[in-house]
Each structure stands twice: as structure tokens, then as C-alpha cells.
């Protein structure tokens, strides 16, 4: 994958080559293998390249038709060979073996009708340098990023927001509503970002910039209709689809490895990739000293089963604290979890070992009902059907005893979960999670809270208003699955925890479960193929049993988590923490109230941290401070070895 950036004016006039070069310079981590810019009268494009296919001929920006059409492209089209044949038959004369050229010629041939033909992960910009028209497009699920901002009749776009700021024309300013979304959903939902006037192109949409106007169009919306019965051949069909999805994602001129958590999803990917790779697969895992987070036992079982060449990144509390400023620089958003930090370190290991591409198991939990949240929903609905029952709520014990060891019996859970809104609420499945933000809001600085109050926009109301028309006819599990995709998968898991952590070290993530053929197949399955009682991923487990030992195919899910308080307040905490928590620094940032923060920190230091929400709030506060310092104050990229590097010498402040 790569980094792309561009500037498009609404009128004739020069494009600053210097601005383009600065935009490309801050995206160099995404594409360390090459860099290029092209400057026209109205449009300028820049690209940093991670060469995965046809390294000799794939330089970008790439032109056709005597330079009329140019593309900068970040992604992988896995069916590009088929599309290339189709285009060749229509008379296109290819000059490279790249999928970039397929996308460019495909756009020239079919226009927007190209998009549904693509199987892959992508974000790209095609510029018609004669008319000054620019088209931006993004893949179905938001695997790859694309941001844009309009300033003074000019469009700026890039793979990461830091490149927009590096142009010198787009300022990094706080968007309180974007931050409020981050603290509610763990990530701002596109098009919103934590920065004012900076937008993310929504997954499954494309945009046309012409004569100073940007027009947005949706080209993909997943439908989750479900079905009455599971097809007879569902197990085999899913097996074939997954094999094809993995095989397509092994296409590269460089080594393709795989992330291995030890759970079902990554184990199955590793097993399938291991069978298809001519050489031993390279697998990569994080391990923790703390047994609450560590899955190394499970990982080693999979390694033994697949015969992979395995490498491990051991994670300590000190590691997380040390790299967290860099994690925030790459994530470009405050976080509620530290879980991206281990993946930041893992991608560094991957790169050091010479692997450029890794397969990853994202998407399976959303598609196959793997999260506890889905089981929670099933139990709550089960309880609602017989409100007087004392035995039904006891099912919650089986779900949450680990997180709430003092919980007992039916009354506790009935009191808590059944109070979480009405099943008629479209957000019913997620209300207990979203409600946690209410408590975090108690830490907002008064002025920040007042700004939000003046806006009178509730992030949950916004979400309700934006649900697709089909939502109402979906089953409760399908609704929950959709909400998980748009509130967590796209804004957080694929972004801050996915692409941004991998690309920090120039590593490309490929996600076979989000092959749209797999996603659309599962969307047509009945709920019972995914969740029955508290048994999750039923069809996936049956299908996995063809290639994995029963023990692995039946392995219960362990959520991926990383420590939240100890890295920052424990022994050996990094020096930046004290600076971030300083009342003067908090006042300057203006997001959180210094007195409230001090009260929380005192409790955390005293070990009086009963639940996740204190830990999440602490991470939110610290990451917001780092985020504000790096971007809004313009301190720029933190350096692990010390010193701060200015973001750009031409920043507008």
C-alpha cells in the first residue's frame, strides 16, 4: 500500500509543488520505496510508494492518454488480472503489470461503474488534468483511508490528515463534536473527524470535484437481509469463499505473512494461507507478561499446526507508555484503548523481518456474531420476552463474570442491562456501551461541555438519523452487526488500530473476511448460522473444522486487550505523562477539566479503579493531550529517541 495526496483548484492557477512535496514527506512511512509528484494547471498529485507488485514499472502518479488522466492509488485489487483481460479485450494497451493501471484504465472505460467490479481494498484519486476534475473513491468497508478538506475554493486530499496540515493551507483545529464521537464510539464516524473542517470520505462512497464543487455519491451499502434457513451447502460454500479470499490476498511479488492472535479467526486465516503458500508462512504475534492479556499458548498450538515461521513481539507496560506518543501521531485521534500500541510495535517487527504484507482477521467477529455484545443482545432480548424470569438473566453470568467477578445471579443483571433502553430503539444493542460515554463526559472542561451543549447534537441521535432505510427490516443481530461495522470497525479497528498502526512501519494489512463475497454470503445467512444461545460463529467454526483441529475450531473468543493504567501510572511511567496531566497543559488543551482529571488520577494511583471506564477515561485524557500537542499545537511527530520534529516549517497557526 501507499500514501497519496493531492491539491485541486477550482480555477486555473499554479499548484505549489513545494506544498505537494511536504504532503508527501509526512506520508513517507506509508510508502518508503518511492515518491513522485505531478503538477498541472489545476491539479497536483503526490504519491509515496510501497511496492508490492511490478516494482520496476509501477511508479505513481501514473498517466494514460498522453497524460490526460492521472491516478494516485493506495490499495490492492485482488481481481485485477480478470479486469485487465476484460479491458485488454476492449482495446486497452497495458504498459505495466500493476493493479494501479487496471484501476486507471477501468475508470477511463467504465467511470463509476468500475467500483462495484473491484474486489479489494482501495482509496484513490483520478484527475482529468484537462478539465481539472478529480474523482476520489474509497473501498466498501473503509479498509484504506482517504481524507479531504476544502479551503478557499481548493480541495486538499490525502491518505492521512497530517498531510493536509503539511500542505500549509489546512489548519489543525479541534472539532468538539468529532471528539465527542471518539469518546462515544472509540472513533469519529466518517465524514466527521476530530479536526474541524477535515473530513473522511465515507467507506463505499466516491466524490467528484468539478469547478470548485464536491459532489458525494454512495456506491456500496451492505444489506443484511438474513434468511429463514441455512443453505444445505453453506459450510462448503463458506470454506471455498474463504479459501479464495485468502488465495487472492497472497498475490504479491513480496513476502506475505499473517498476524496470529491465537483465536479462531486468525488461526483459520493462517491455516488457509499456510496450505496455499509454497514456502512456510511467516506468522507474527504479540505476547504479554500479564496472563490476562496473553494468548501465547494458543498461538504456539497454531504455529505447530501450520508449521509457520513464527516471530513474537513481547509487550511490557513500559513499551506501551514509551511508544504511545508515536501511536497517537499515526492514529491522528484520541483513543480509549491502548490496544493499537502493541500492533504498532508488531508492525515494526514485521518490517524488520522483511515482510511487507500481512493477512489479518478483522471483520469475522462483526460478520459471524463473535463479540460478547451480540450474545449480550441475545440474552437481553430473551429476558425481555419473559420479564419476570429469574433464570434467564443468569445467562449474563456466563458472559461477564470475568469482567465483573462480584456479579451474581439474575437480579444484578436484570437491574443493569434491562434498564438499557427499549428493544424498539434502533441502537438497543449498543446502548450499554454507548452509555459509558455519559460518565466520561463528566470529565469535560466546562467550556468544552458548553460548546457541545450549544450545538445541541446528540451523537446517538445523529447515528439514528443516518441509519439506512433497510435497517428497520433487519433482524436484531443484523442491526447490531451493522452498528458494529459503522461505529467500531471502520472508525477504529480498521483505522486507528488497523491501517494506521501497520502503515506506521510500511506494512500492508489484508483482511480476507472483508472480501465482499464473504461478507455478502454471511449477510444472507439466518441468525442461527452465526449465533445460537451463547454459541457464536457457528457456521464459521464448522467450516474451520475442515482445516483446523477441533480444539482450535471450537476455541472461545478472547477479546484482544492491552493494559490501560499501568503503562502510564505504574513504575517506570514515561516522563511525558506528568507533562500531559499538568493542570496548565490540560487548561491549554481545554478538553478535560484539570480538577476532575486530578481526582481520577489520584484514584488510579491508589489502585481504586473498579472497572474499564476509569481506564478508558485515563487513556482518553492522555491521548487527547498527546493528540492536541502533536497536531493542534503543531509540535509534530514525536521521536522515540527524543526531541520533537516540527510538522512543517510553513504551518499556518
Amino acid at each position: 500500500m501507499c500514501g497519496l495526496a493531492g491539491i485541486a483548484r477550482s480555477t486555473d492557477g499554479p499548484i505549489s509543488a513545494g506544498s505537494l512535496r511536504q504532503m508527501a514527506a509526512v506520508l513517507r512511512h506509508r510508502g518508503p520505496d518511492g515518491e513522485g509528484t505531478v503538477v498541472g494547471d489545476r491539479v497536483g498529485l503526490a504519491h509515496t510508494r510501497l511496492s508490492v507488485l511490478d516494482a520496476a514499472n509501477g511508479a505513481q502518479p501514473m498517466d494514460i492518454e498522453d497524460g490526460r488522466l492521472s491516478i494516485v492509488y493506495n490499495g490492492e485489487i485482488f481481481n485485477f488480472l480478470e479486469l485487465r483481460e476484460e479491458l485488454t479485450a476492449k482495446g486497452h494497451a497495458f504498459t505495466t503489470r500493476t493493479d494501479t493501471e487496471v484501476v486507471l484504465r477501468g475508470w477511463a472505460e467504465w467511470g463509476e461503474a468500475l467500483l462495484p467490479r473491484l474486489n479489494g481494498q482501495f482509496a484513490f484519486a483520478v484527475a482529468d488534468r484537462r478539465t481539472g476534475t478529480v474523482v476520489l473513491a474509497r473501498d466498501r468497508f473503509g479498509i484504506l483511508p482517504l481524507f479531504y478538506a476544502e479551503r478557499d475554493g481548493t480541495l486538499y486530499f490525502a491518505s492521512e490528515m497530517k498531510a493536509l496540515f503539511a500542505s500549509g493551507a489546512v489548519e489543525a483545529a479541534v472539532d468538539p463534536r468529532g471528539l465527542d464521537q471518539v469518546f462515544t464510539f472509540w472513533g469519529a464516524r466518517a465524514p466527521r473527524t476530530p479536526f474541524a473542517g477535515v473530513h473522511a470520505l465515507e467507506p463505499g462512497t466516491w466524490a467528484r470535484w468539478r469547478d470548485g464543487r464536491l459532489t458525494l455519491r454512495r456506491w456500496y451499502q451492505i444489506d443484511l437481509p438474513g434468511a429463514g434457513e441455512e443453505p444445505r451447502d453453506a459450510e462448503a460454500t463458506l470454506g471455498l469463499l474463504l479459501r479464495s479470499a485468502v488465495d487472492h490476498r497472497l498475490i504479491a511479488d513480496v513476502t506475505v505473512g499473517a498476524y496470529l492472535s491465537g483465536g479462531l479467526d486468525s488461526s483459520l486465516i493462517c491455516a488457509l494461507a499456510g496450505r496455499s503458500s509454497p514456502d512456510p508462512l511467516h506468522t507474527y504475534s504479540v505476547t504479554f507478561d500479564d496472563p490476562r492479556f496473553d494468548e501465547s499458548g494458543e498461538q504456539l498450538e497454531v504455529v505447530a499446526n501450520t508449521g509457520s515461521v513464527h516471530a513474537v513481539q513481547r509487550i511490557t507496560d513500559a513499551d506501551i507508555g514509551r511508544v504511545f506518543p508515536d501511536v497517537i501521531w499515526h492514529a491522528e485521534t484520541p483513543l480509549l484503548r491502548t490496544a493499537p500500541a502493541p500492533l504498532f510495535l508488531l508492525s515494526r517487527l514485521v518490517r524488520e523481518r522483511g515482510t511487507k504484507v500481512v493477512l489479518s482477521g478483522e471483520g469475522a467477529d462483526e460478520l459471524f456474531g463473535g463479540y460478547d455484545l451480540f450474545k449480550d443482545l441475545a440474552v437481553r432480548l430473551f429476558c425481555h420476552r419473559q420479564p419476570g424470569s429469574h433464570s434467564r438473566p443468569r445467562l449474563f453470568d456466563r458472559l461477564y463474570l470475568q469482567d465483573a467477578p462480584g456479579a451474581r445471579g439474575s437480579g444484578f443483571w436484570r437491574g443493569y442491562f434491562l434498564a438499557a433502553g427499549s428493544p424498539d430503539d434502533p441502537l438497543y444493542s449498543h446502548l450499554p456501551r454507548f452509555r459509558q460515554a455519559e460518565w466520561l463526559r463528566g470529565f469535560y472542561a466546562p467550556d468544552f461541555a458548553a460548546q457541545l451543549a450549544a450545538d445541541r447534537v446528540d451523537p446517538l441521535e445523529e447515528l439514528r438519523a443516518e441509519l439506512p432505510a433497510e435497517f428497520a427490516r433487519w433482524t436484531p443481530l443484523a442491526r447490531a452487526s451493522y452498528l458494529e461495522m459503522v461505529t467500531l470497525l471502520a472508525p477504529y479497528l480498521l483505522a486507528a488500530q488497523g491501517d494506521r498502526m501497520a502503515m506506521a512501519h510500511g506494512v500492508e494489512l489484508r483482511v480476507p473476511y472483508l472480501d465482499h463475497r464473504v461478507a455478502e454470503f454471511t449477510s444472507r445467512l439466518p441468525e442461527t448460522s452465526k449465533l445460537r444461545g451463547l454459541r457464536d460463529k457457528r457456521l464459521l467454526r464448522r467450516s474451520a473444522a475442515w482445516v483446523l483441529p477441533q480444539k482450535m475450531a471450537r476455541r472461545p473468543k478472547r477479546p484482544y486487550r492491552a493494559p490501560g493504567v499501568a503503562p502510564f501510572l505504574g513504575r517506570g511511567a514515561p516522563a511525558w505523562v506528568a507533562e500531559a496531566l499538568d493542570p496548565g497543559s490540560l487548561r491549554r488543551t481545554g478538553i478535560f477539566d484539570p480538577c476532575a482529571v486530578a481526582a481520577l488520577v489520584a484514584r488510579c494511583r491508589a489502585g481504586a479503579v473498579p472497572g474499564n471506564r476509569e481506564s478508558q477515561t485515563l487513556v482518553a485524557i492522555l491521548s487527547s493531550q498527546l493528540w492536541y500537542h502533536a497536531f493542534v499545537e503543531g509540535a509534530g511527530r514525536p521521536q522515540l529517541q527524543g526531541g520533537l520534529v516540527p510538522l512543517t516549517s510553513q504551518r499556518k497557526r
Binding site: G406, F412, R414, G415, W439, V597
Partner: protein, 98 residues
């Protein structure tokens, strides 16, 4: 509610209010917390907090709160908690109030 229960109700509400403020609303001492402020729906008390709340009530007021009584109706507001404990719906063991 008789006079004795009313006095006990006021005592339970006041003590529990102070405890909730200290343990859940320490970041906002001025947050309004009257007898009918929802504790669960507003997110003041989360799932782990309910466990703590029940433990606190049992320790402080010497009662046992049976499982069937752990509901939002009984624990959802300070007033509800006061009524639950003061009217003896939560069973008071022989040794009485601490």
C-alpha cells in the same frame, strides 16, 4: 412509611448520596444528585458499580439484599434505595444496623 422508617430513609439517602459522590462522581462534586436522579440510566453507576453499591448497602446498613431485589426499580435512584433499605424490604438480620 412511619416516622422511624422516614428517619431511616433520610439517613440511608444521605449516606448513600455521599458514598456515590465519593466513588462515582468524584470528578464532578457539583453534579446534581437528588433523590430521583437516575443512577443506572445516566451511567453514574455502571455494571461493576452495581456490585459495589450492593456491597456498600449491605455493609453499611447491615441488611441483606436478596437477588430478586437487585433491580433498577429498587436501586435506580437514591430514593428507591432509601425506600428499599428503610422499609425493610431488604431483610435486616438479627444483629441489626451497624
Amino acid at each position: 412509611m412511619n416516622d422511624q422508617a422516614r428517619i431511616r430513609y433520610a439517613d440511608v439517602v444521605e449516606q448513600t448520596r455521599a458514598w456515590v459522590r465519593e466513588n462515582f462522581l468524584y470528578m464532578r462534586p457539583e453534579w446534581p444528585l437528588d433523590e430521583e436522579t437516575p443512577l443506572l440510566r445516566s451511567g453514574v453507576v455502571d455494571s461493576v458499580g452495581v456490585i459495589e453499591l450492593v456491597g456498600y448497602l449491605e455493609r453499611t446498613f447491615g441488611c441483606t439484599i436478596p437477588e430478586r431485589e437487585i433491580t433498577e426499580e429498587n436501586l435506580g435512584t437514591l430514593g428507591a434505595i432509601g425506600r428499599l433499605v428503610a422499609t425493610g424490604e431488604a431483610r435486616v438480620p438479627a444483629q441489626g444496623v451497624r
